[in-house]
Amino acid sequence: MSAEAVVTSGIATTLELSTPIVFGGLGGVLSERSGVLNIALEGMLLIGAFGYFAGAAATGSVFGGLAVAVASATASALLLAWLAVHAGADQVIAGMAVNLLASGLTDFLYQAIYGFAGTPPVPGMGAVGIPLLDRIPVVGASLFEQSLLTYVAFLAVPAVSFWLFRTRAGLHVLAVGERPEAADAAGLGVFKIRYLAVLASGVACGLGGAFILTQVNSFSSDMTAGVGYIALAAVIFGNWRPRGVLVAALLFGAFEALQSILQSLGLSVPYDLFLAVPYLVTIVAVSGFVGRVRAPQADGIPYVRN
């Protein structure tokens, strides 16, 4: 491979691998900033992926796929919200419930619906080039010839960041996630805001799941393969900030891309150990060995109104 080809494919692969992490991570930030711990990202991404498959197969259109992906992932988020916000259930267990449900239900439905008939072809989402920018030498084609969803993911980062830290509604979310009693006393609807924040994480995961599916255009059991947990890692490593999530996602993505490039160059690398790195750096980050990460103060605590 020429040096140029290495750079091009490195950038393209990095962006591809980062996209679902960004979607999941933004969902995680929104939900956790409101005080709802979200370990259900994995399950919601999986439901999003299946939703795209089922929707696109039934309607034969990308739009149908996206709509069902977002709707179904949001429905699973509604379940998480009900358990975590309304029922005041332990949020770790609630998240596990959604993950198990997602893993079982998607695979069951796949078997039940397509097991006998075989899988229909689903319309995918090809790369969309951005005029002029994609002609930039070396990096143009890899940066600006991406799936539409990749652009959406990366543009969503500054948008969510601005919304969360610079708008009234965003600050309400932060208030509810830090001091729910104070927010309640000030007249904010803690339950409503948390519900909406968790639902928003469902929307993000729906898009992320759709992206994962359109990478291969067919569904397979547990196809998200831990991306949701890497997204959770990105939330923590990124210090519960959208920009931090972006940096973490690019880092994790680049690392995996590097590994595949090294492999394609014929260098023997312990592939599996490379894959463990995002999880390890997250453990280091929550332990406070490097830098400092700080969770929203009320993250994971059900709010009980006295």
Binding site: E32, L37, L79, W82, L83, H86, A87, G88, A89, D90, Q91, V92, I93, A94, M96, A97, V98, N99, L100, L101, A102, S103, G104, L105, T106, D107, F108, L109, Q111, A112, G115, F116, S221, G226, Y229, L232, A233, I236, P270, Y271, D272, L273, L275, A276, Y279, L280, T282, I283, A285, V286, S287, G288, V293, R294, A295, P296, Q297, D299, G300, I301
Partner: protein, 393 residues
């Protein structure tokens, strides 16, 4: 100091985790009894009886919703459930396969239950199980000792491997405050990658398949019933049930462990080191989970394969919650979920859906268990409201 996301989930007594606490046996001291009564009154925990009812309702809810899901896809729920029952209970082979599925699940669930009792969220039992399985497979595959000693050495390796894997989150929590929820979860994926690295590289057996060397002879658990997969693994699990019960309810250590889970503040005031208990509980929980891995590898699999399923770690959470974190309850619940898993193979040939459907049921069960208190509260509020209205009239 870093602040971790959810250490406080189990912190103060006002944030008692519904799944994390409760006792199945008689409280040992008056103070403890009083604390328990207060918790029960507040609805933070249920008594053994109400929890049994809750678990039973959760199972019914799961089967009912499962039936709806089946029917919606044109599959007869009756045929599916009949296949599930005959594949798990109908005949000696089916019962044996239920016991085979139950053994590692039972041990892993005891591991999870112990940690929940202490208010520690070990949700990474799957990773510890994987490391235990790998340790046992390495000893069994490369170190050849006489019969009997071989299995003891493998068990010791798995206990140690699991304990060390879980001690890391324990120490991190004790000394840096890192939440064990995140660290045990992340370490599960590290374990999965470590296993894949080992079985494709340094510990790969000769031949085309990516796995550790096939265990044989003295490294395999003895078969109990000829022509079945039923091995002594189930006996190990059954022995551990009373052992864990004695540990929890008849030893000082068990008392400390439960005290820390019920009320860390009071435990500290009483002079127990919450930190030390936390680390030791995770190590103990990890050791048991590791042993579950050994049972799986020496009892069923015969070697550690690539992409080894660590799903048992999550199923164990469902079992611990359904079984109210009590050894007897865990025995019942693991036999039940073991039966479902065993029966799913028959269901596959009968109606074409299998394992995933059981995972779906598990998801509903765990959701119902944690969601039910809220439904009950809402229902009793409505009833009280109706009673008030009737009284006003």
């Amino acid at each position: 100091m870093s602040v971790e996301p959810e250490a406080h989930v189990l912190g103060g007594e006002s944030q008692v985790a519904p799944g994390g606490l409760s006792t199945g046996a008689t409280p040992t001291t008056r103070g403890e009894r009083r604390a328990l009564v207060a918790l029960v009154r507040r609805g933070a925990i249920g008594t053994g009886g109400t929890r049994l009812v809750q678990s039973a309702i959760a199972v019914v809810v799961a089967f009912a919703l499962g039936a709806v899901a089946l029917a919606a896809n044109g599959i007869s729920p009756w045929a599916a459930y009949a296949a599930l029952a005959s594949g798990s209970l109908g005949g000696a082979q089916s019962l044996a396969s239920t016991a085979v599925q139950t053994a590692p699940l039972l041990v892993a669930s005891l591991a999870v239950g112990i940690s929940f009792r202490a208010g520690v969220f070990n949700i990474g039992a799957g990773g510890q199980l994987g490391v235990g399985a790998l340790s046992a497979a390495l000893v069994g595959g490369y170190v050849h000792l006489g019969s009997g000693i071989e299995l003891v050495a493998m068990a010791a390796a798995s206990l140690l491997g699991g304990a060390l894997w879980a001690a890391v989150p324990g120490l991190l929590k004790a000394y840096t405050g890192a939440s064990e929820v995140i660290t045990t979860l992340m370490l599960t994926y590290v374990a999965a990658n470590l296993i894949d690295y080992a079985v494709t590289g340094p510990a790969k057996a000769p031949g085309a398949i990516n796995q550790t060397p096939q265990l044989s002879g003295p490294a395999l658990l003895p078969t109990l019933v000829a022509n079945t997969q039923l091995t002594a693994a189930i006996l190990v699990g059954l022995v551990l049930v009373p052992v864990v019960w004695l540990l929890l309810f008849r030893t000082t250590y068990g008392f400390r462990l439960r005290m820390v889970g019920l009320n860390p503040g009071a435990a500290t005031a009483a002079g127990f080191s919450v930190r030390r208990v936390g680390v030791s509980v995770l190590a103990l929980s990890g050791a048991l989970a590791g042993l579950a891995g050994m049972l799986e590898v020496a009892g069923v699999l015969g070697s550690v394969p690539q992409n080894m399923s660590l799903q048992v770690g999550y199923t164990a959470i469902v079992v611990a919650l359904l079984g109210n974190n009590a050894p007897a309850g865990i025995l019942l619940a693991s036999a039940f979920l073991g039966a479902l898993t065993a029966g799913s193979t028959t269901m596959q040939s009968a109606v074409g859906v299998s394992g995933p459907f059981v995972v779906f049921l598990e998801g509903i069960m765990i959701g119902s268990v944690v969601g039910m208190p809220a439904l009950v509260r809402a229902w009793s509020r409505r009833r009280r409201g109706a009673a008030r209205k009737a009284g006003a009239r």
